[in-house]
Amino acid sequence: MAGMPGMDRNAKSGAGMADMNPAGMQSMDLASGTSQNPLAWPMPMAMYHHGRWNFMFMANAFLVETQQSGPRGADKLYSPNWLMASASHRVGAKGSFDTELMLSLEPATVTSRRYPLLFQTGETAYGQPLVDAQHPHNFVMGLGFRYTHEIADQTFVTLYAAPVGDPALGPTAYPHRASAMELPQASLSHHWQDSTHIADEVVTLGIAHKQFRLEASGFRGQEPGEDRWIIEGGAIDSWSARVWYLPSKNWAAQFSGGRIAQPEGPGTGDQIRLTSSVEYTRPIGDSAWSTSLIWGRNHDTASRHNLNSYLIESVMPVGAKNFLTGRAEMVDKDELFAAQPAIESSLDATAGSTFRIGSYTVGYTRDFAVWEALETGIGFNVSTYSLPSAIKPYYGDHPVGGSVFLRVRLKGHR
């Protein structure tokens, strides 16, 4: 039996944390922005301290080969990836300051500004709406600063300001979500639930008391442009509010709503978004069984469409090295033919403009140790879909997508 690895905080530098206070602990447990996984999740986070500064690192990278059937299917080798680093420092007995930086090489590793994902919509590539494809994330996925202050026992006020960050809207975004850790591809519900996780000009004020947290944000609503290497700016024109309830360390639930100003660019409508989610985590060995149930709804002020999305996803460790995972979604899509106006208007006259798509993904990952500080695994997943008859001529009766991947993740210290 051994002690916690490398936790000698008597040393000036080393693994583990030092010189914290309750405000610092409160801030450390957050995911991106002020979002939250269940506290019981053993966050894969490497921790170090130097002097009075504490540093935390998380990283996840996939190398994916995907192949899809049907007239609109495509094949591609690509790599979703990100690295998150944060540094924190206590401010007196009651305060804690921390800054977070999240970087992604996806602008280079997801070529042609997209990777194939049947029925996915949202954002543009080369001036055309992305359909059946997912956009890469920006090089700077997050750059933010947080100050948390303990104003009474188990009561904290947090101010979060981020040139690029995650406002108080939606569940924990899929790259950070415990239940999505073994799924390299985005959810089809992304632009209904958690797409604002890379918003510009975010300011959030929150208050937490025991199991409850109430937050409000202002941010820029427009989605990122196609130059993925820059940080964009603009006026704060959108707002959101969110309430969290964490009844125990195993559960995290939120309800949130907001108005996103012209997310698809000037001249388009605003989106009024409502989301609700429940996440559950149960530690098993060094890992955890995590499940999320999420609902998201967009009301588009221009089209007056009310579009709903429902998602359930889970990852379960089996033994020390195996993970079973799955995701099922139902999403109302109204942009599947946005790049083909003639087909879109023809379908609009006969079958309507909104199509409810079901997506059902199952997957498996097997870890194998390559380096002590990394969790390295190989895996695969397969997706099948349900779709209305009216659009089967364009997708085929039974479209299928499959991916095989290599996953490398920075190993946590706990």
Binding site: G3, R9, N10, A18, P22, M28, D29, M43, Q154, K249
Partner: protein, 112 residues
């Protein structure tokens, strides 16, 4: 009491190569601080306060015994003894670094 003794016996019987059963003496700490002094972690808090703040967040109550840190399976009962010397009866699972608690009591106190 009898039921707990039966449970303890079952736990002992069920122990595997990776598990060791018995009585463990040590201090209730948390998986963040481990065997390190709490004053390094939170200078202006007592040991018990530091343990409770860490365990309230994403870390867990643990027993530090002879330099070893074992996560305690019963987090609810462990909270009561944060920062205190205790005697734990149970089975230690090396793989999950978890001490499966059958009973826990303060040193020289009655079994809980």
């Amino acid at each position: 009491m009898t039921g707990k003794l039966i449970l303890a016996s079952l736990a002992l019987t069920a122990s595997t190569f990776a598990a060791s059963a018995g009585e463990f003496s040590g201090v209730v700490t948390d998986t963040m601080c481990g065997s390190n002094p709490h004053t390094s972690m939170m200078k202006d808090r007592t040991d018990a306060e530091c343990v409770r703040v860490c365990a309230r967040g994403s870390f867990a109550y643990a027993l530090v015994s002879g330099g070893s840190v074992m996560k305690l399976s019963d987090q609810k009962r462990s909270e009561k003894y944060a920062g205190q010397k205790v005697r734990v009866t149970g089975t230690y699972d090396e793989k999950s670094k978890t001490l499966h608690v059958v009973s826990i009591a303060p040193e020289n106190g009655s079994v809980q």
